[in-house]
């Protein structure tokens, strides 16, 4: 039994060493250029959604764009530090509901699809963003 375990762990080690390192999420999103394009796609979608665009009426869009790129870069493991406010702070007073959140998620998915981001990477990013739901809604 013990030798079997040793054999097994050696085999696992060999497999692990043999594999080229898996690209991290930041790389799968296309690094800085990819994340910038994704953010622009998303902003374009928001701009053309009459049901949520009014939430951005008082938003400084160039600043919002810069911070979103930073945030996505940091979240996905890229070499950035998000310098904006916390999610609670930045959404206070907007009184967003679940429909706003749902629509934003759909716009993000469609932007990722348009950009040809692999399905697994799309889900990785969604998994990082979904927990922000309670920090964003009803504030």
């Amino acid at each position: 039994m013990k030798s079997l375990l040793i054999l097994l762990s050696m085999a696992l080690l060999l497999v692990a060493c043999n594999q080229t390192p898996k690209p991290n999420l930041y790389q799968q999103l296309g690094e800085e250029a990819g994340i910038t394009a994704l953010t622009d796609h998303l902003l374009h979608q928001i701009e053309h959604d009459p049901l949520i665009v009014h939430h951005f009426r008082d938003t400084d869009i160039p600043r919002f764009r810069r911070l979103l790129i930073e945030q996505l870069c940091e979240l996905s493991g890229g070499p950035c530090v998000y310098s904006g406010a916390t999610m609670e702070e930045s959404h206070t007073g907007l009184n967003l509901n679940t429909r706003d959140f749902d629509r934003l998620v759909n716009h993000l998915i469609s932007a990722m699809q348009q950009q040809g981001i692999p399905y697994g990477a799309q889900n990785q990013l969604l998994a990082l963003l979904a927990p922000m739901y309670p920090e964003v809604i009803g504030r």
């Binding site: 509901n97 679940t98 429909r99 749902d102 699809q113 697994g120 990477a121 799309q122 979904a130 739901y133």
Partner: protein, 276 residues
């Protein structure tokens, strides 16, 4: 029944309209009883794609063909606010070998108590009720069923884990149902000695291979109250294709066990659903 399915199909094709704000596939499919879920298990999800302050309507038609029986099921639904789900379904159970048919109507209500399927760590939890009324009760009554109508009450919890397996999203659902129904009501409710509700467990697991294609398995525990023949648990393996927010197609291989003394009923399930 087939006419209704065709009608659903062509209306869906003719109306590629916005169905609601929720993410594709989060409305699930529609069960044979008209509630949103898999094929045989109601989930905590609310049918359609309506989010806060949105409503949606659904229509579905399905057919299950096993060795000695065919079940046609068709119905409509109305959902509001991703909170309430109302449904009506008519089932027609054809006794292909024995001869004849059994029909029942099912009116369903579902209320989402807590949670958001995709976003909260707490699963989405819903409470549901199905009022069932048999239209051909003579036969169920002859084999020992007590009542022509009954109420199922269920509590369902569903959750999607994003990026769970090989980058794919996984849905798990567990449902506890209190029921008096024999063969989901197709053989009436209770027996002459016992009409109390019994608690049954139902479960589903589904993996989204892509954003619009899911594969999964389901299990539905069943009571066994009629002395004339054994009733067994149901299970299936399914694939669901969410063509868009307006149309989905579900196919499954089902194992319904013994029914009315005829052993090992297995076969195919096909369901078509439209949502606006």
């Amino acid at each position: 029944m087939n006419n209704l399915m065709m009608c659903v199909f062509f209306t869906v094709l003719a109306l590629p309209v916005q169905a609601g704000s929720r993410v594709l596939a989060t409305g699930g499919a529609t069960t044979i009883e008209g509630s949103a879920g898999g094929g045989i298990v109601p989930w905590a999800v609310i049918n359609g794609y309506g989010s806060d302050d949105e409503w949606s309507v659904q229509a579905f038609g399905s057919r299950v063909g096993v060795d000695d029986f065919t079940l046609h099921s068709a119905g409509v639904g109305l959902s509001f606010d991703n909170r309430w789900e109302l449904s009506y379904a008519r089932q027609q159970f054809k006794l292909d070998t024995i001869g004849g048919q059994l029909r029942q109507d099912i009116v369903g209500v579902k209320y989402r108590l807590a949670g958001q399927l995709l976003y909260t760590s707490l699963p989405q939890i819903s409470l549901g009720l199905q009022y069932k009324r048999h239209l051909d009760f003579e036969l169920p009554s002859l084999v020992g069923a007590y009542s022509r109508s009954g109420v199922d009450l269920y509590l369902a919890a569903s959750k999607v884990w994003l990026d769970a397996i090989a980058g794919r999203n996984l849905l798990l659902n567990g449902t506890i149902r209190a029921t008096q129904a024999n063969q989901t009501g197709l053989l009436g409710f209770g027996n002459t000695d016992q009409q109390r509700h019994q608690l049954m467990f139902e479960g589903s697991a589904a993996l989204l291979l892509t954003h619009n294609l899911a594969v999964g398995v389901e299990f539905r525990q069943k009571p066994n109250r009629l002395a004339f023949a054994d009733e067994q648990h149901w299970r299936d393996v399914f694939v669901a294709w969410f063509v868009n927010a307006n149309l989905s197609v579900t196919a499954a291989y089902v194992d319904l066990g013994d029914i009315a003394g005829l052993p090992s009923q297995q076969g195919w399930y096909l369901s078509l659903e439209g949502s606006w």
